[in-house]
């Protein structure tokens, strides 16, 4: 018997956004779909893309990451190369925490120079993240914007700093990640503020803050679903690709604690913690995932059929 299957058709469509690549690299385009994830109907010209984070500050790695990328932790340029050529990352998220006073405190000029080095070393698209210190980032982003030899995305613009970031990005042709703390109204607001400044919509991706598995992930999943539904229903300010950065998954005790043997091998558990976080985000509608474990690039990409 053939059964008439329900379809959810929507008037809206997610704006396609391209993360540009360097010479010889492949740009990443996401968005363009007019349907919900995990459904067969509608058009989805671009599948979700999985990238990797390259961290630069001093930090103690959880066992799972220590065994996978520990030897490269002090060498971001080599790590960046391996992420792309060996592990299949389609883009990189370069985190400049080395400039944070608590994790190295290197100068803004050093940060910008490192960004430049990574951009020269790999042709893949790059999102450049700040160090998390408000005052340092206010100097760091303009320096990176100027030093970058090719267009990147700057992460992230929020209510406090969007003028500064939009100015820097506009002056040098970069894109922006618009950030909000798990709140659909704030997510919309920051996109509106950027639009009011005349920032091109097709150079914005949204980061609604990703809580790690067991530590707020459900709030993120629901916000991503609501953002996606609103966007498809026609709210242009929310009809944008969504990025989920899985970094918080590694902050969970369960992802790193090797002393709790009844939880199983810490190496495998850490990798699974990040993978599970990423899969839940994909199911909710994420278009871009940033992971840290090399093995998770292929695993998450394999589930990015929707």
């Amino acid at each position: 018997m053939t059964v008439a299957l329900p379809e959810q058709r929507f008037p809206g469509r997610i704006l396609p956004v391209t993360l540009p690549a360097g010479p010889g690299g492949s740009p990443v385009t996401v968005g363009g779909q007019n349907a919900l994830p995990c459904t067969p109907e509608g058009e989805r010209p671009n599948l979700p893309a999985v990238g990797m984070e390259v961290r630069t500050g001093a930090e103690e790695l959880p066992p799972s990451l220590r065994s996978a990328i520990g030897e490269l932790a002090a060498d971001p340029v080599s790590l960046a190369r391996r992420c792309v050529s060996e592990w299949g990352a389609r883009f990189l998220f370069l985190d400049l925490s080395l400039c944070h006073p608590d994790s190295g405190g290197r100068s803004v000029a050093d940060g910008a120079a490192l960004a430049r080095e990574v951009l020269d070393a790999v042709p893949a698209p790059v999102i450049v993240g700040g160090c998390g210190d408000e005052e340092v980032d206010a100097r760091l982003f303009p320096a990176v914007a100027e030093a970058a030899p090719r267009p990147v995305f700057l992460s992230y613009a929020e209510e406090k700093n969007y003028r500064l970031l939009a100015g820097a990005a506009l002056a040098y042709g970069h894109g922006l990640v618009s950030w909000s703390p798990i709140d659909i109204n704030m997510a919309k607001q920051i996109n509106l503020l950027l639009a009011d400044l005349g920032f091109p919509a097709d150079r914005v991706i949204m980061d609604p803050l990703t809580g790690g598995l067991g530590y707020g992930l459900e709030y993120t999943c629901s916000i991503v679903e609501r953002i996606r539904l609103s966007g498809l229903q026609g709210d242009a300010m929310l009809a944008r690709p969504v990025l989920c950065h899985l970094g918080d998954a590694w902050k969970a005790r369960e992802a790193s604690d090797a002393s709790e043997t009844s939880w199983g091998d810490a190496d495998r558990r850490g990798r699974r913690w990040e993978e599970t976080t990423g899969l839940a985000c994909l199911a909710a509608g994420a278009d871009l995932l940033v992971c840290r474990h090399p093995g998770n690039v292929a695993r998450l990409s394999g589930a990015a059929w929707r």
Binding site: V3, E254, W273, A303
Partner: protein, 450 residues
Amino acid sequence: MALTALEIYKLLPKTNCKDCGFPTCLAFAMQMAAGKATVELCPHASEEAKETLGSAAAPPLPKVTIGTGRDEVILGDETVLFRHEKTFYHPTAIAVSVSDDLPPDAFGERLRAIRALSFERVGQRIGVDLVALRCGSGDPVAYAKAAAAALEATGLPLVLLAPPGPLAAAADAVEGSRPLLAPPAADLGAAAKMAAERKLPLRVRADGIGGLYDALRAARAAGAKELVADPAPGDSRGAVEGSVQIRRLAILSRNRDLACPTAFDLGEPFPEPFGTAALLIPKYGSLLVLDTADPADILPLLTLRQNVFTDPQRPIQVEPGVYAVGNVTSSSPVLITTNFSLTYFTVRGDVEASRVPAYLLIADVDGMSVLTAWAAGKFTGESIAKMLSGCGIGEKVGHRTLILPGMVARLSGRIEELSSWRVLVGPQESSAIPPYLRRLPPAAFLPANA
């Protein structure tokens, strides 16, 4: 879809006789539309009205129960597609498999491993719900014996994955425990009769939605009532799309023929079982059978399930109040945190690990984390000062020193202004509490000299 109050009203007698306990038919209709009353309360409703209103009130996705008593597992009985619309009610059940043809030692060992897959997380017990017994032997006697042993060793309800002969033998061996009968697709007829006779739930497996439509009808025709649908996918994508389609048929199309909880056997040779399970937990899978009993696999899946099935209106929270940790005395340190379970259990665990007896003040912030509650204006100098004077801690300890979470150090001035307490700013991360408490000078907790 659910009917509006006006649509319901049109079906009622409109005499306002009050026999239902509501002042008017319309008032009653409004309560029904809100899901707070059912048509049975109106003794005068026509048969037609009862039929229409009764089925509109029935859950769009029927409920199926497996097992009995404390370890009963409920599948289905869901009403929405997205958790923010209301909530998801019945967590995806996780079954871990064992085969009846394992050597006795390995069989017992495997059951112990399954039983151990139970963890305490933010004050809730999360664990594997069922044992899925595969029939490798093909022998009814061996299979029945294994079923009894599995039930005995774990206490968990069973999913019996077996052809009719062994299935019947095992169902007898564990009679009264309400296992789920899960025959191969080809043996549906015989198993459906068995399910009907014994009043047991039945997993119906058939290729795709079309195949399921026919198979579910056949099972119902044979008298089986509580059905669980398995669209027999070959890969992850097939599983997730099948699951989504069945849920949408139930919720959006109100298709009664296909509205069933779902089951997916992700055991060998299913590709990518772990990733598929992680997608099926948010995407409507009702029951998953897994071959892995590795806690490093199971704990993340159980945690995801706990997250997804938390009521979005009500974070998991604990009772606010004064909690004593260890053998407290009047000079024990006093720490404050919020009543979000995640926060409370994290902090409590670290205070316990310090082995320093202490009082924990749990502030009522509607189940929010420290920073969220602060940002929401619920964890403030005012609210903390009020708690200090109202909760009775002043009678329990002689000192007036409060340890504040490092993340909200900025509140200390206001607290000291509004109360007679002095504030010590603790570490930002609670994991730093043990060394912090051990290093505190006891002088800080001597009786206040005032």
